[in-house]
Amino acid sequence: MGQTLSVRQLEAWYGSNKTLKGINMEVASNHVTAIIGPSGCGKSTFVRCINRMHETMPGTKVKGEIVLDGESIYDQDPVALRKMVGMVFQKPNPFPSMSIYENVVAGVRLNGMRNKQNLQGIAEKSLRMAALWDEVKDRLNYSGMSLSGGQQQRLCIARALAVEPSVLLMDEPASALDPIATTHIEELVRQLKEDYTILIVTHNMQQAARIADSTAFFLNGELVEHGATSEIFTNPNDKRTEDYITGRFG
């Protein structure tokens, strides 16, 4: 099951540049939450704070609190946290020297699992959840790089799912894909919310409108508005949200 996220007064910096300015936001479990906003508004920084990737970069700083299922993420070991909070990036990034199978179980192996039968079970389950199993079951030993872009992205999703996270962060997961592969990913996201809490950063307004239950609009490091997607895209409360979604800026 997915878990709820509570973000309180979150601030983040790159050097002296403050990119998040006191974000307060509740992310519902088993929902898809879309993060939208113009380039540089802090949406990627926001999701990178949730799995504590932001603080790994030199010169960065984070302040505030993020509570995952009742426990502050800053009280947890970052590696353990990242087992609970998986991430999928804009560009598919399978490990180039690994086979499809090895890619999927890489994270689980790193966590110490060695039992071959268990690993095979996890690989099949993860690939099925990522809607890729039927396409690759006969060539699991092929290189991950042999797959199409859309398949590679689903492979990365399978790899993220293999460690059984409760939250899945997706940073523009379909922006490098063609329309058919994009449809696959969107359908997959819709299905995955049954088991996961999903945060998806997207520049594609229509994609957010299609797949997200709720949408949050970020601007200049601030959360302008967060509400039901049906409301945000039909009658937003804030004029800045309306101006952004109708293409008047951004």
Partner: protein
């Protein structure tokens, strides 16, 4: 992309304005044919209704094109959806004008009285249509709300027309048919004004995303 959407929206406003002008031309023609009981002229106006129908299709096509290619949301989407609904109202208003022309073809003259309130109703109803379209073009909520007041005036005139006709029909049963036909004309003009209030309701919907009944 925003520029294309803006241009499309301006084109829709112009199309609806042109469509309204066409409806106005037809209703005025139908009213003239009623006052002069000119059946031939009435036939001409009945044929002219096709132009209004063509406008409705053109508005629908433009709305579909904008939705498909520009993916409008929020106020932009409401503005485009409202254009489709307004064109349907205008098309119905054109039909109501034609219904008057059809009555002209049925009335056996001469007119039982000089028509005063019925032309006044037509004038007020047309004014409401123009005001509704202006409110749409400029997203003017005041003009939209004011349509409710004007609609009450048209309703009041309609009641007066029916009352006056009843008195005449009671006195002269031989004009019963014509009296009924003229009451229908009053009814058509009252409905015409109701459609104009629908245009105002769409303007309120565009601005607020809320609904308000201007025709109570």
């Amino acid at each position: 992309m925003r520029q294309t959407l803006n241009e499309g929206q301006l084109f829709l406003i112009q199309l609806l304005k042109d469509m309204g002008n066409e409806v106005e031309r037809i209703l005025q023609g139908c009213m003239k044919s009623l006052i002069s009981l000119d059946r031939k002229q009435a036939g001409f106006w009945i044929a002219e209704d096709q132009k209004v129908n063509d406008f409705e299709r053109q508005v629908d096509d433009e709305c579909v094109r904008l939705i498909a290619t520009q993916q409008p949301v929020a106020k932009d989407l409401r503005m485009i959806i409202s254009a489709m609904k307004i064109s349907t109202d205008l098309e119905r208003m054109g039909d109501l004008a034609i219904d008057i022309a059809k009555i002209v073809q049925r009335i056996e003259g001469p007119l039982l009285k000089q028509l005063i309130d019925i032309p006044l109703m037509a004038e007020k109803a047309l004014g409401m249509m123009r005001q509704g379209l202006e409110a749409y073009a400029n997203e003017d909520m005041d003009l939209a709300h004011d349509l409710a007041v004007l609609d009450d005036q048209v309703d009041h005139l309609y009641k007066k027309v029916v009352r006056d006709l009843l008195v005449i029909m009671t006195d002269k049963p031989e004009v019963l048919d014509q009296g009924m036909y003229l009451a229908f004309v009053g009814r058509y003009l009252e409905r015409f004004a109701d459609h104009a209030t629908n245009i105002g309701e769409n303007v309120i919907y565009i601005s607020t995303a809320g609904r308000q009944d201007l025709n109570k």
